[in-house]
Subunit: 215 residues, 2 copies
DNA sequence: CGCCTAAAGTTATATATTTCACATATTTTA
DNA sequence: TAAAATATGTGAAATATATAACTTTAGGCG
């Protein structure tokens, strides 16, 4: 058994390939080449092959890849053969949008508990979910076997919510609050930070990725 | 005048440093070291200094950085000395949330036009904005001097909306639809892809960033 | 006033990632 | 059945990025 480190960039691209393959499959395409995948997702063919090579040999030389097979392999690698129930903290504007987000379900993700601490929000229905008091999160996490948390509370409340999630053994958190959360080593955080994304754009609108010092 | 290529990761971190400095400044902190910045945003002190070194010398050896000054420098570098009006396509669940997002304004961003093609959405008010027909986007872009577009329409409509934005000379697009958009070289795209973020988490929940081949 | 400490700036080193080129395997075709 | 065409898998080279080690400078203090 060989263990090797996989670049995070490779994992993100694998997720993108996987979804692209799903689309091909839905469209009835049965076979695909690294070049076509590359074209479809905007990377180089060599990159596609290199990425896949971390995990095994999935293609046939001279032919390409079987779409359905490769799709299943990628989903297996990404750990998507099981459903992923998730807990959402914050039933505000963003939280509500997330509850209605259909694409989650297509990949096996589902928000199964929404929690808030505002009495006017608690009890509110969002599609088939009912907003619950934050205090009930621990119990729901346990009952539903939740391992992933989503933070959509205001910045000032984000750390305390993260602490609560950590105390209740969540090991993966998707954070929308624009702040660096402090969590133990074994807890993974992914930040979705729109200001950062926009500021990379404004930077590049000026400099195009280079910087001209003023002398 | 020296032109040098700046890693995208550096720009991303610069944005994070910048916001952290803003917070320090609000809290009345006047001086800060690379170590404190590093601590606050979760990177190494050497990384902070290296990143800043791309753009100049902003600190005082033995002392640290003046918070207000460094904050202004970072904002200048990130091109945040001007307001950034933005056009949003898609007044659905996500689009509505984005319209209410306060943090945009703190950094100079503002959605000044929301566009949809659903007659039941057009005319709807979202805070101080009114949803307009997509056809009016070109005119608003021109009038308001918009350079950044946001795509929050369903996946199937994303490419045509992107095309429209490109035709109207937007050079930067923040895209929430989970698809690779096809745009000319001189147009920048940033994708916000939640499934990808979640799948990096599920991958790591299984392998912790390594992969064990099955033999 | 010179020594000591702290922390920035910088150079060198190490690591990670991507690109390139090619050897290899498969299918098609003459 | 040999040759041609095609597309994978991979090792080496090129790039890019991060870490670590070192040098320089400012300010405090005896
Ligand atoms: N609105 C957006 O489009 C958007 C986009 C990106 C990021 N964000 C970020 O997402 C977060 C939420 O944004 P929003 O616009 O939905 O804000 P919001 O004010 O509409 O919603 C926040 C919700 O969190 C709840 N809350 C507050 N403290 C809580 C606590 N301690 N425990 C549980 N719930 C608590 C509030 O009652 C409210 O319902 C913010 O951090 C924001 O910066 C928002
Ligand atoms: N809801 C979320 O939390 C969320 C999160 C991440 C990404 N996304 C993505 O953002 C996009 C929007 O998601 P949503 O949940 O808001 O969907 P939604 O269906 O609620 O809203 C989409 C809106 O786009 C409008 N629209 C459709 N075609 C259009 C066109 N050609 N021109 C202009 N407007 C058009 C619709 O009328 C609708 O108002 C989707 O691509 C989705 O995958 C959503």
């Amino acid at each position: 058994m060989k263990t090797l480190r996989v670049p995070e960039a490779t994992v993100t691209r694998l997720s993108i390939y996987s979804r692209f393959l799903e689309r091909l499959d839905r469209n009835g395409v049965t076979s695909v080449s690294s070049g076509e995948i590359a074209e479809g997702v905007g990377v180089s063919p060599a990159q596609v092959r290199k990425d896949l090579a971390y995990f095994g040999e999935f293609g046939t030389r001279g032919v390409g890849y079987n779409v359905k097979d490769l799709m299943h392999y990628t989903m297996k690698i990404l750990n998507l053969t099981q459903p992923w129930p998730m807990a959402l903290a914050g039933a505000g504007n963003l939280g509500t949008a997330l509850c209605t987000y259909r694409n989650f379900r297509e990949r096996g993700f589902a928000i199964v508990g929404v929690f808030d601490n505002d009495l006017t929000k608690i009890g509110k229905r969002i599609e088939d979910l009912t907003v619950q008091p934050l205090e009930e999160m621990p119990q729901v996490i346990k009952q539903r076997g939740i391992r992933i948390g989503i933070i959509a509370v205001p910045t000032r409340a984000a750390q305390e919510v993260a602490d609560l999630m950590v105390r209740n053994h969540l090991k993966a958190i998707l954070n929308f609050a624009p702040i660096a959360l402090n969590v133990p080593e074994d807890v993974m955080i992914r930040n979705v930070d729109l200001s950062v994304s926009l500021e990379v754009l404004t930077f590049n609108l000026k400099y195009r990725g280079t910087y001209e010092s003023e002398e």
